[in-house]
Amino acid sequence: MKNKAVVCAMSGGVDSSVAAALLQKQGYEVIGIFMKLWSEETSQTDLVRENVCCSLEAATAARAVAAKLNIPFYVVNFEEEFKKSVVDYYIKEHENGRTPNPCVVCNRDIKGEILLKKTLEMKADYLATGHYARIGSENGKIQISNDKQKSKCQNPNVKYKLLTAVDKAKDQTYFLWMLKQEHLKHILFPVGDYSKPDIRKMAKKWGLPTAERRESQGICFIPNRDICTFLRRHTKKLTKPGVITDVEGNILGQHSGLIDYTIGQRERLGLGGPKAYFVVKLDSQTNTLIVGDEKDLMQKELIATDLNWLSKPYSDIKAKIRYGHPAENCKLKIINNNQVKVTFKKPQRAVTPGQSIVFYKGEEVLGGGIIN
């Protein structure tokens, strides 16, 4: 039988490079694809700012890996779709005084939909990415990609489970909760079975030219991690200065426009004095920035909407309200199909509307939603 074919999304980073190499060693026929997602012309400089993650330099790095592995390599352009699905969503959420998570939408709409469609159009069986996550099947057995290949073709009705990566510090399941069974069926996460140091080691051992490439950080379409400048380039909403008050409503100072702030923020408030203030609420109705003590940031309950379930919701589970936060014990009360009330055992710091909440049972991702 002909080997199964995998399209590997290659960003020019070390993780997706090793993912491609691992798949090749596992006997797959690998096709590399680089996605060009974003570039921005700014009026002031007349200069095209390329997305740091999908610049020509990154494409060249990915191409070099493909050449080293001797696999076909293509650049596809999804700029239009990326802008519509991801960037516009990101800006719109900020315009509503929320702090969105564009990566979760990108993983569903760009990778899960458009890139997967392209994958199937190219007659490949799977789409692989360099995410730190794993996919298992219903009987709970954690599979490596090889076994999965078998089980996937033998049983089309099998239910898949999204599982946290072996390297808990690198785990990226927080960004993948929007995926559906139909996606998981065709997706492979080859690096999820390894630790980051292992991945670097493999990259070096196999002489991959991206072994030493620095890691991307922050939101890929925002240059220099400067969110405020980016947003002000794209919207006028919430850019009017207003007052800063404490939780009682006493005026403490002036803010530069609500769009510049996020819940839990401590820096750049310009309030002076020895007391530490934190942003606790953006009130876009009155254009007021409300600050308070750290204790004002703490809350036990929240409502999540836009739910997606990969497995049945259980009552006693853990949930993560931010990437990098630990998962905390909580209880769920289903309000309706699209809303759930989450009650944490312990108060959580800086529950931020627009961010994702992801539900875990052990190492399995049950689903998630958007914090309201």
């Binding site: 060009k36 076909p72 596809v76 352009n77 392209k118 199937l120 159009e121 007659k123 996606h183």
Partner: protein
């Protein structure tokens, strides 16, 4: 099986051309501007090549400037003339020189015109093609203004292969010029035409004409601009006094020799004879695709069409997906859009002709060459049928 059907992108170097150029990479490496014997050998070779190109175009050697390729030749034609005219009477009369071109030019012309326009250096009229992809002489005539100095129309469109009525336009402009105070110069980008169409500049009634080496069996990085003796061309690259002081920079001797040889090879046979075999294969290809695949249309005129070009619109599929699938079975073609160059724009040629974004994204260009065989066309059709069928069966997952 490997099938190359992208000859309009580039072509392999012909054997006799390779043989001619190799000595100039080895022993005859001299600089044509040097006084010594090495220089003299190189100079002789460059001037021989100039004569070869001139003969191919039925012009004089002193009317040929070698450039780094078609793009530079196009730039030189457009900017060279506008530089001259901007300094002339238009500066005094306070109006800008006017250039007529088409919306389906190669980017080398289009972007240059846009640059001039954006920087207030010229006024540009972009003519829209009809549904066949054709520009008519009447359109050009209607666009003529008092301050028109240049008209530039592509001979064979690089995407849809449509042959423009260059000779008719040229004759019309000549007639116009008889009653005008200032002359309109006529340029054509003939990069895609050289292999299969008449290239006699007198027959075509053109004042300037661009050719490129790598489309006709010479290497990449060499091209030439023909300019009739009375064309007031101004240089756009400054430096030494090479190429009659119109194009600075040490000559690409091996490339020039190759271009000379490539044109000589073409000249050995009449163009109708050169085109015969390719034309037959192309018609076989187009006929079978239109017959055996449903919901497909040919882009551009069938009659006024380059003998090596077949450009199809496959409905309900993306051109990019067809291309990648074809490549995976060893077939090289290309799409209108320049996806691989990291920019996403629907083909400006298809957009100008059909004003249909879907059509621009769902179209594929196949361009045949000297070495194309019937077996290769058959293999391509077989695979194309399978691929189109498969792609049409895959609808968006839509699980959102």
């Amino acid at each position: 099986m490997k099938v190359y059907l992208d000859y309009s992108a580039t072509s392999p170097v012909k054997n006799e051309v390779k043989k001619a150029l190799l000595p100039f990479l080895e022993n005859n490496f001299g600089n044509p501007s040097s006084i010594h014997s090495w220089g003299q050998v190189a100079r002789t070779a460059v001037e021989k090549a100039r004569t070869q190109v001139a003969e191919f175009l039925n012009s004089k050697p002193e009317e040929i400037i070698f450039t780094s390729g078609g793009t530079e030749a196009d730039n030189l034609a457009v900017r060279g003339i506008s530089n001259w005219s901007a300094k002339g009477k238009f500066q005094i009369s306070n109006s800008k020189p006017h250039i007529i071109t088409s919306a389906i030019e190669h980017y080398a012309i289009l972007r240059t015109c846009e640059y001039l326009e954006k920087n207030n250096l010229a006024e540009i009229t972009y003519l829209k093609p009809n549904k066949e992809g054709l520009i008519t002489k009447e359109q050009v005539k209607k666009a003529v203004k008092k301050n028109t100095v240049l008209a530039s129309v592509i001979y064979v469109n690089n995407e849809i292969g449509v042959i423009q009525p260059i000779r008719e336009i040229g004759k019309m402009i000549e007639k116009e010029n008889e009653k005008r105070e200032n002359k309109i110069y006529f340029h054509t980008d003939a990069v895609q035409a050289a292999e299969y169409l008449p290239m006699n500049v007198d027959f075509l009634h053109v004042d300037l004409l661009t050719i490129s080496g790598h489309k006709i069996g010479a290497p990449k990085g060499i091209g030439a601009l023909y300019f009739r003796k009375d064309v007031p061309l101004r240089k756009i690259i400054f430096g030494g006094e090479q190429e009659m002081n119109l194009r600075a920079g040490t000559e690409n001797v091996a490339g020039i020799v190759a271009l000379g040889k490539a044109t000589e090879v073409l000249r050995d046979k009449k163009y109708e004879i050169r085109a015969e075999k390719t034309l037959k294969l192309r018609d076989y290809f187009i006929d079978r695709v239109l017959k055996e695949i449903s919901e497909v249309e040919l882009n551009g005129s069938r009659q006024s069409r380059s003998p090596n070009n077949a450009n199809f619109y496959f409905k309900y599929v993306e051109g990019e997906s067809i291309l990648l699938s074809l490549d995976l079975v060893g077939i090289a073609a290309s799409s209108g859009s320049a996806c691989t160059s990291l920019s996403l724009k629907p083909s400006h040629v298809l957009m100008a002709t059909y004003n249909n974004a879907e059509r621009s994204h769902g179209s594929i260009r196949f361009t045949l060459g000297e070495k194309t065989t019937k077996e290769e066309i058959d293999y391509t059709i077989t695979n194309l049928k399978t691929i189109i069928k498969r792609l049409r069966e895959i609808s968006p997952l839509g699980v959102k």
